[in-house]
């Protein structure tokens, strides 16, 4: 009796709270519904269709007469009459693996440099100085220019005969002769990286700056009083506290870099040294008569990005609510 009397208010209280929670969850679902529908239409359906196409022998001229071929576009093992076994399909295609390698290389180096430069720019912008607002706005310009425009601009700047970079280099004595940056396989990837780093460092800087401004000033004051060296302050205070923002910024950039298309399409469209997964997929989808193969490559690209994101969130313990777990 007594125990029951003691327990019942607690139960009632708990039940009441859960009813409220349920009600809120129901309302939330209704609020989410329009967004979910929009996502399903503009992202879900094309994705599903693309994945479906990758299991068929579809052609661009005949999208509705496709036949199911299973995993043949991914990998098929054929035994020839001579008894030799050959592999066909995207997963056995050296061009595909070359594109994967290019993409990974591009993503790694661009994000590493963007993070370093972004951090430096953010630290500078976080300091108090006159005209800070103007500088902050000015630094965003590369990010605000549409990629296709800046890529075209850079392709003229990098031109070997009338490009300003070669002209400057030769005048200053840094280059012996004009270099064909985008034409030579040795420098093509570097040229693309430079343009991408120039373009996206401001984005990185902005996200890191937001993180920096959330760090309370009094921590630094306390460190100053204790006589901690500024470099030690950076590694012991700034870096750990800015880490959550940094992790989110990095994942944004990596996802963006893994699907890089426009910059490479304009600067070095057909160079094997820079051809990425997206460029290869576009080529097969629209230039060549290989819609199914292109769909397969798009699907693999999607899976790779998804896999990377899951591993990153899991390993990096990224918390999108804004704080480290």
């Amino acid at each position: 009796m007594t125990t029951e009397a003691l327990r019942s208010p607690a139960i009632a209280q708990r039940r009441g709270r859960s009813e409220l929670m349920q009600q809120r969850a129901r309302a939330a679902r209704w609020f989410l519904l329009p967004m979910m529908i929009a996502l399903a239409v503009v992202a879900g359906w094309p994705l599903a269709r693309s994945i479906y196409f990758s299991f068929t022998d579809v052609k661009l001229n005949n999208l509705y007469g496709a036949e199911w071929v299973g995993f043949a576009n991914y990998l098929q093992i054929r035994t020839l009459e001579s008894g030799r076994t050959i592999y066909r399909g995207v997963l056995a295609d050296p061009d595909w693996w070359n594109a994967v390698w290019n993409t990974v290389r591009f993503a790694f180096w661009s994000v590493v440099w963007e993070t370093i430069f972004g951090m430096i720019v953010a630290l500078v912008l976080n300091a108090e100085f006159r005209g800070r607002g103007i500088v902050r706005a000015a630094i965003l310009i590369p990010w605000a220019i549409p990629t296709i425009v800046s890529a075209k601009m850079w392709s003229w700047m990098l031109n070997d005969q009338f490009g300003i970079l070669n002209d400057l280099g030769v005048r200053l004595g840094l280059l012996g002769a004009p270099v064909a940056w985008t034409a030579s396989p040795d420098t093509a990837m570097m040229a693309v990286l430079v343009v991408d780093i120039w373009k996206t460092t401001p984005f990185m800087a902005l996200l890191i700056l937001a993180g920096l401004q959330m760090i309370p000033k009094d921590i630094y004051e306390a460190a100053d009083i204790d006589g901690v060296h500024p470099i030690k302050q950076f590694f012991r205070i700034t870096l750990p506290l800015v880490r959550p923002a940094l992790m989110v910024a990095i994942i944004f950039r990596v996802l963006d870099a893994l699907r890089i298309f426009d910059l490479i399409y304009v600067l070095t469209p057909n160079s094997a040294a820079t051809k990425t997964m997206s460029v290869l997929a576009q080529e097969n989808l629209f230039q060549f008569d290989n819609f199914a193969e292109g769909s397969t490559q798009s699907t693999l690209l999607f899976l790779l990005i998804a896999l990377f994101t899951i591993v990153y969130i899991w390993l990096g313990k990224v918390n999108f609510d804004g704080g480290a777990r």
């Binding site: 031109n159 070997d160 034409a183 469209p269 629209f286």
Partner: protein, 419 residues
């Protein structure tokens, strides 16, 4: 939109005595090189005056590969916004299903055009597009420099190499450090296929894939041709030439920084423009021949045509536009103002045309040696075949494997693709 259309319709039916059909609003897509779009605009104004139909130009990038990707996407989606497409000579077999048959509409005029060009636009008895102009490349050379060093226009590629090298070295010693011997289209794209096909064909090395479907590219003459071309890079041609398309090579040439250039006739009028450093200092000749067995001068057949989309809602008016742009009158204006080569035979004897572009007389000779790209035997695989070819050539030019190795691999790849 609707009222606008109605208004235009009303106006034209009032102004035009010969009962004009309802005026249509058309759209035409076209790539741009040099001043091509400005000329097209002026032609469309004449068309509007004559028929009452209004036409909007949708401009596209100059790279033919870029255009093709976009058109293919639009056509696959049944896009009704574009009525008339400006199509490259090689697209007919790949896009034939998406364009209407113009055989009947053009029955009266097909006889005026070069039969080989009409043939290239006919797929299974269906006339896919009306030829607008044709193209065959030429060797542009600096008359002042050749005269200064007492040189003849080279007749073979090795001669060109020697002449270019000599003039370039001598001029550089005199302080013209930016001068190069020869510029062409060396970027990895369709233009390189055109250039390399000329080298191979001029050495008697066939045309990559023969008309009967045989893959002929792996032969000693083709290897010799590519080896010769590879020897130009870094000697008479800048290394950056490996990234040049038409406009980049024209840029180097027009600044006066090249002795020779391979380009299409559109560059003739532009090089004679007032802002050109080579104005009045150059002439054109057929491209050089190769050396060895079966050597002959060669040029890749190019050209642009007008096709009517199957999905157009104004097919009748659109057909009118295509016929207008391919007509003798329009082609004559084009030849005079743009120096584009007419696809209508009679215009090569036309006094006005020859006065404006005297070089056109020599083009009949170039046409006789013109070689088609293998778009007919490769059919829907042409783009991929072409891309395999230009990649093999680009690799060879940039020193990534020898000509023999790359062509052997190319043969295997083409067999895999086509069989």
């Amino acid at each position: 939109m609707k009222t606008n259309k109605l208004l235009v319709g009303l106006l034209t039916s009032v102004t035009l005595v010969a009962g004009a059909a309802q005026a249509a609003e058309l759209s035409i897509v076209s790539g741009d090189t040099g001043t091509g779009l400005a000329f097209l605009q002026s032609e469309l104004e004449i068309f509007t005056e004559e028929t009452g139909h209004t036409v909007t130009i949708v401009p596209m990038p100059s790279s033919t590969s870029d255009q093709f990707g976009q058109y293919r996407l639009w056509l696959a989606a049944g896009n009704a916004d574009i009525d008339v497409y400006t199509t490259d000579v090689i697209w007919a077999p790949q896009l034939a299903d998406q364009f209407i048959d113009l055989t009947e509409a053009a029955a009266d005029v097909v006889g005026e055009h070069f039969p080989s060009i009409i043939e290239s636009q006919t797929v299974d008895g269906k006339l896919v597009a009306i030829p607008g102009y044709t193209d065959a490349p030429a060797l542009f050379y600096r008359t002042d420099l050749l005269e200064k060093y007492g040189k003849e226009v080279p007749k073979t590629w090795p001669e060109l190499h020697a002449t270019a090298q000599e003039i370039m070295d001598a001029e550089r010693a005199e302080g013209a450090t930016d001068l190069w011997g020869y510029v062409f289209q060396g970027n990895a794209y369709e233009g390189l296929t055109c250039n390399a096909l000329e080298w191979v064909n001029s050495y008697g090395g066939g045309q990559i894939i023969e008309a009967d479907g045989t893959i002929s590219i792996n032969n000693p003459q083709a290897v010799a041709a590519l080896e010769e071309a590879a020897s130009w890079i870094g000697t008479i041609s800048p290394e950056g030439n490996l990234a040049y398309m038409e406009e980049e090579s024209r840029g180097v040439w027009q600044l006066g920084n090249a002795v020779f250039m391979r380009n299409w006739p559109y560059a003739y009028a532009l090089s004679n423009g007032d802002d050109s450093a080579v104005k009045g200092k150059f002439d054109v000749a057929p491209l050089p021949a190769g050396v060895g067995e079966g050597a002959k001068p060669s040029g890749t057949l190019g050209g642009w045509n007008f096709a009517v989309s199957r999905y157009s809602t104004e097919q009748e008016a659109a057909t009118e536009l295509a016929l207008f742009l391919g007509s003798a009158e329009s082609q004559k204006r084009r030849a005079i103002q743009q120096n584009n080569l007419p696809s209508i035979q009679a215009l090569y004897q036309d006094a006005d045309v020859l006065e404006a572009a005297p070089f056109m007389a020599t083009w009949e000779e170039i046409f006789q040696s013109a070689v088609p790209r293998p778009s007919a035997p490769a059919q829907s695989n042409y783009n991929e075949a072409s891309s395999l070819f230009w990649s093999a050539v680009h690799d060879t030019l940039s020193g990534n494997g020898s000509a023999a190795e790359n062509l052997e691999l190319l043969e295997v790849d083409l067999e895999d693709l086509l069989n």
